[in-house]
Symmetry: C2
DNA sequence: CGAGCCGTTGAGGGGATTCAAGCTCAGTGG
DNA sequence: CCACTGAGCTTGAATCCCCTCAACGGCTCG
C-alpha cells in the first residue's frame, strides 16, 4: 500500500494564463467557462487561504492517483496520458471499468461528497489538473454553462461505460482485442504508436485470461496488424490491416 | 415498428396533490424539491399552454416507452414496474444495459438535448411520470437541490452500470443468473415473488445463449432455489438456498 | 387441430481457461 | 564477462464451459 508520491506544482497567479492557453481546455471541463468565469476560478482558489487552488499534478506510470473508498476532495482533468479506473468484482476479479484520456474528467463523484468508486491508476506517465471540490462547487452555482458541462460529462461517462460493455466485453476474444486497439488508435495521434497494455492489463480490460490475451496479440502480430516496439509498451498499428481484420471478424456474427 | 400505444392521463390541477402523496417521491427525483418548488413545478406545466405539463403514463409489458435515436422531449420517473434499456452491439447482438425500477429516472440525456441512447421497453406493466424537458429545465436553474439530485442520479446510473457490468457479465453462466436473481429479489418486496424474465431476456441481460439461460434456471429449480409460478413470468425464491448457492459458486473463484 | 411461441433437453464442437513449461530480457552480483 | 534471477511474455496440451444445431413438449390461439 504505497502512497502515490504525487508531484504537486502550485502554479502562481499566472495559473489563469496557463488555463487560458491549455491544450485540452476546449475539450475539458473548463472549456465551458467564460473568460470571467476562468478568472473567478482562480480567484476562488486564492481566496481560500492558499489551500484550495487548482494545481498541476504529474504521476508516473503504474502509480495510483486515488483509491477506491477514499473520501474525495478533488476532481481531476487529464491533460496527457491514459488513466485506468478499476474495481474488484464480486468474484474477486480485478476489472478495468474505464479508460480516461486527455480532456476527460475523473472522480466526479467527489462533487457529491461521495467516496471514490474506483481505483484510478496511471497507464502511462500523466499530466493532470487537480481541482478541489470547493472551488468547483463555488463556481457551479452561478456559471450555468459549467453546470451544463458537468451534466454533459456525466452523461458521456455513462454512455462510454455502456458502449464499452457492449463492444469490448462481448464476442470472441480476438475480436475484443481488435476493437480495443481500434479504439486506442482512434484516440491517439494518427500514425503515432499506441499504448500497448501489458498482457495482464489487457486481460483485466477485456475480461479474459492473460494467456488468451497473449495469444490474441501474437496472432495479430503474425497477421501484420500490429508491430511491437522495443520496451513492450508501445506498438504501431497498420490501419488498413486492422480494418480488414475487424471486417472479417464481423463477417462471422459469432457469439 | 409499432408505435407504443401509451396511455396518457393528464391530471388536473390536483397533480400537485398527487405528487405530494406519491409513493416513490422520496426515492424519486422530486424528493429533492421543496414544497414551494413542487408547486412551481406544476404551475410551470400549466403556464406552458397546457402542452407541457407533467403527466402520468401507463404502459403494458413488452411495449416500448421510447426508441433509441429519437429526439427526447421528456424524462420519466418509474413509479411501478420494471423497465429495460437495450441497445444493439457492434456485433449485432441485442444487449440489455440497465434495468430501472421504482424511483429511477429514465432518459436523462434528453435534458442535454441529445437523442435517447437506448430503447426503453417495459418488462412488466408500468406506471410512470412523464416530465417534459422544458418543465424540468425551468426549475433546474433556481432549485439548487434539484440540480444536485440530478447529478446524484447521473452518478448513480453510472455506478449501477459499472457494477452491473462487473457482477452480471463476468464469471460462469450459472453464477451470473444467480446474481441477477439475488439483485431482483433485493429490489422486490421481501417474500413476494420476483419478476422472472423470459429466457430470451435473461440471455440478453446476462450475455449468454438462450439455451444456457434455460439450463441454468432449470438447475436452480432442481436445487430448490427457485420455484416457477404459473404464467411463467414470476417466481418465488428461497433466500436461504440462494445465499448458499451463491456462497458455493463464489468458493470456486472460477473464471 | 395445426400453427406458433416459449421453454426444455440432448449431442457435438469450438473457443477459452487452466496448468505447466520454456522463452526473452533487464538487472544484479560473482 | 557471464551465470543467476525474476518478471513478463509466449506457447503447448488437456479440460471444460458454453454456443450451436436440432428435436421435442406444453401452451395458447386462430
Amino acid at each position: 500500500m504505497l502512497m502515490p508520491r504525487t508531484i504537486l506544482l502550485k502554479l502562481a497567479p499566472t495559473q489563469t494564463e496557463a488555463c487560458r492557453g491549455c491544450g485540452v481546455r476546449d475539450a475539458a471541463l473548463f472549456g465551458a467557462l467564460s473568460e470571467r468565469g476562468l478568472e473567478r476560478l482562480h480567484e476562488a482558489g486564492d481566496g481560500m487561504g492558499g489551500a484550495g487552488g487548482i494545481s498541476s499534478v504529474h504521476l508516473p506510470a503504474d502509480r495510483r492517483l486515488y483509491a477506491l473508498g477514499a473520501q474525495g476532495a478533488a476532481v481531476f482533468t487529464v491533460r496527457e496520458g491514459l488513466v485506468r479506473l478499476e474495481r474488484v468484482s464480486a468474484a474477486g476479479r480485478r476489472c478495468i471499468v474505464r479508460l480516461a484520456g486527455p480532456g476527460d474528467l475523473l472522480g466526479a463523484e467527489a462533487l457529491l461528497g461521495e467516496r471514490y468508486t474506483d481505483d484510478a491508476v496511471a497507464c502511462t506517465d500523466l499530466a493532470l489538473c487537480r481541482i478541489p471540490v470547493p472551488v468547483l462547487e463555488l463556481l457551479r452555482k452561478d456559471e450555468p454553462a459549467l453546470q451544463l458541462a458537468l451534466m454533459r460529462r456525466w452523461q458521456q461517462a455513462l454512455d462510454a461505460a455502456l458502449t464499452w460493455r457492449i463492444d469490448l466485453q462481448a464476442g470472441p476474444a480476438s475480436q475484443r482485442v481488435l476493437r480495443l486497439f481500434a479504439q486506442l488508435s482512434r484516440q491517439a495521434a494518427p500514425g503515432e504508436p499506441i499504448w500497448l497494455p501489458r498482457r495482464e492489463e489487457l486481460a483485466d480490460l477485456l475480461d479474459m485470461a492473460m494467456e488468451t490475451a497473449s495469444r490474441a496479440v501474437s496472432a495479430l502480430r503474425r497477421d501484420g496488424v500490429i508491430e511491437l516496439m522495443p520496451g513492450g509498451r508501445r506498438a504501431r498499428l497498420d490501419a488498413g490491416a486492422l480494418a480488414r481484420a475487424l471486417a472479417k471478424s464481423n463477417g462471422t456474427p459469432n457469439h
